[in-house]
Structure formats: structure tokens, C-alpha cells
């Protein structure tokens, strides 16, 4: 299954957007609004922050779209902007502290989903922010460890370790073999 971001965009539409045509920019906005918000929400686990990421990423897009040079698919260029915006949001949030809001967030958006989806969404939301980001980028967005390392500013082996730990935690929670307070449970403090 491909990343929801992998939306092919007509080069003519990109050209029109690069020349500043507002309708073209809006068309691109509507194409990527949901994948971008989803990515942001999954990484930040907070609707307000996800909206901020969406806004920041879209502003970056309209300001820098003229720098896109067709060396990679447009969606991958754009996704990079949103991943960076989401990680920036996590860093900002860490600076502001009070990470406890990230713990035990069931995610209202998922509350009306079928049981299994809700379980995985809730368990995923409980992961520490960085592990969550690594797991999402690797498993869902298809990033390599090298790409994750470059994005996060760490080494590929750090990314591998985070992924392994994230998976282990998630499987315990998801399968119900671990209580919320045991082992690696993230309590929101640094």
C-alpha cells in the first residue's frame, strides 16, 4: 500500500502554481489537505498542532513552490515540507514542555472507528513522540532509515533502535500483554 501522500500531480498544474496562479495553488491544497493533516495528526497527536503543521506546511509550499525542480515527484517534495513542519512542531512542544497531553490521548478522530483500528490508533498515540515519528515515517510513509536519520538529525542506527523499540511497545499495548504503567511506558517527562 502506497503512502496517502503519493498523489501524482499534473506538471501543468505545478507550472501554473509556480507562476503564482491562485486556482492552481488551491487545487494543490485540496489534493494534499487530508494526507498532510493525517501525517501531522499522527505525529503530533493533537488536532490544534496538526492544524498548525498543516498551515505551516502549506505556507511553505506557496512561498517556495518556485524552487521545486522536478528532480523528485512533487508529492515527495511536498511531504518533506510537512514532515519537517511536524518535527519542528514536536521540538517546539518539547521546549514548551508539558508533554503529558501526549499521553493516553485516544484521539477523538478515531473514536468512531472499528475496534481494531481504534486499538492501534490509541496504542500508537501513546508512543513517545520521536518513536511515533520514526515508526510512522518508516512503516506508513516508506522512508528509509537513512532518510529518517537525515530528517531527524541522528544516525541511521538510532532510527533503527527507535523503530524496534516503538514496535515492541506497540505490540505489547496492542496485544494487551503489557499494562500501561509497565516497562517502557512513556510518561511524558524527559
Amino acid at each position: 500500500m502506497k503512502s496517502a501522500f503519493a498523489v501524482e500531480v499534473d506538471p501543468q498544474l505545478i507550472d501554473r502554481a509556480q507562476s503564482g496562479e491562485r486556482e492552481a495553488l488551491y487545487e494543490i491544497y485540496t489534493l494534499f489537505e487530508k494526507p498532510a493533516y493525517t501525517l501531522a495528526f499522527r505525529i503530533c497527536q493533537c488536532p490544534e498542532q496538526a492544524r498548525e503543521v498543516l498551515q505551516d506546511g502549506m505556507l511553505q509550499m506557496v512561498e517556495h513552490i518556485d524552487q521545486y525542480s522536478y528532480q523528485a515527484p512533487f508529492w515527495s517534495w511536498l511531504r518533506k515540507l510537512f514532515v519537517n513542519a511536524a518535527l519542528m512542531q514536536l521540538r517546539r512542544q518539547r521546549r514548551q514542555e508539558n508533554l503529558e497531553v501526549l499521553v493516553d490521548l485516544p484521539g477523538d478522530e478515531d473514536s468512531d472507528r472499528p475496534g481494531m483500528q481504534r486499538d492501534i490508533a490509541s496504542a500508537f498515540a501513546r508512543l513517545a513522540p520521536e518513536r511515533r515519528a520514526v515508526l510512522w515515517l518508516y512503516a506508513v510513509e516508506g522512508f528509509s532509515h537513512r532518510e529518517i536519520a537525515e530528517t531527524l538529525g541522528y544516525t541511521p542506527s538510532y532510527s533503527k533502535t527507535q523503530l524496534m523499540r516503538a514496535r515492541r511497545q506497540l505490540q505489547r499495548w496492542w496485544s494487551g500483554t503489557d499494562s500501561a504503567n509497565a516497562g517502557d511506558y512513556y510518561d511524558g517527562r524527559q
Binding site: 500500500m1 496517502a4 503564482g20 491562485r22 495553488l25 488551491y26 491544497y29 489537505e33 487530508k34 494526507p35 493533516y37 493525517t38 495528526f41 499522527r42 488536532p47 496538526a50 492544524r51 498543516l54 498551515q55 502549506m58 505556507l59 506557496v62 512561498e63 478522530e109 478515531d110 472507528r113 481494531m116 483500528q117 492501534i120 490508533a121 500508537f124 515508526l135 510512522w136 512503516a139 506508513v140 514496535r167 515492541r168 506497540l170 505490540q171 496492542w174 496485544s175 494487551g176 500483554t177
Partner: protein, 162 residues
Amino acid sequence: MRVIIMTEDSDKMMDEALKGLPQLAPPVSVWREVENRLDALENKGRRRARLGYAGYGLAASALLAAVVLSFAHFRLISEVELADTAQQLVKETTPSAQYTRHLYSAEDALLDAVLEKEIEQVDKTMLYSSPKEQEVLWRYRNKLKEQLEQVRRDREDPDYRF
């Protein structure tokens, strides 16, 4: 309770479950904010263009004056010849970067001073206003402050003008 043995298969199963999570839509669109930024960018572009033309005109006048003086100093020439030469030079010459930079920084300094003065004025007015008026003034003040910060950020940004 589900029991999961941690194997590559269970990793894949978990990845698939994550991929299968539904896409989410933002509760409110952010397109309006994006449009506001587009408006601001367009205004900035227009302002730059306007200043660019003004700079061109002023530089052309200065150049014409210099040409007249230097020609007059060395030899007497006909007015027609002088005008032709000057027009040719104006066509070939663009305003100097230094001159344009000077115009831009003067404009920014003026804007900075006006905004600062306006904020001072708002602060004074707030002292004698009702709570309701104060609320409005406070919002206005925040906007002025944002603009002022933007002007200052722009002035510090080496890529802003050139």
C-alpha cells in the same frame, strides 16, 4: 486478550494496521490563512516593483544631470545631441544597487518609526479607554506589533532585498 508473537510477520501486520488507519480531515480549512499570505506576498512584490521604478527614475535623472555637467564642462554641444546621448545612456544603465538599497532601507526605517509611534499612541489611548475599547485596541496593537516584528525581521534578513 490477543497474544502476538513478535516476528517479522507481526511487524508487517502492525505496519499494515497503521497504513490502514483512515485519512483525517482538518476540522477547519487553513486555506484562508494561506490566501492571506499570498496577498501579503503579492503586496510585497508590488511594493518592490514600485520602488524599483522609482529608483530607476531617480537614478536616470541623476545620470542625466551628471552627463549634462560633464559635457558642458568640456565642450559645448547642441541640446539635441545632448538629449540623445543622455537617453541612450539611460536606456543602457540600471540604477546602482547601492542607490536602490538606500531607498529600501529608508522606506523600512520610516515604516519602523511609524509603527513604533502608532504603538506608543495606542498604549496611551488604552489608559483612558473602557475595557471593551481596550480589547479592540489590544488586538490592533498586536497587529501593529506583528507588522513591526516582520519589518525588523525583513531588515535583518540578507536575502530580503538583494
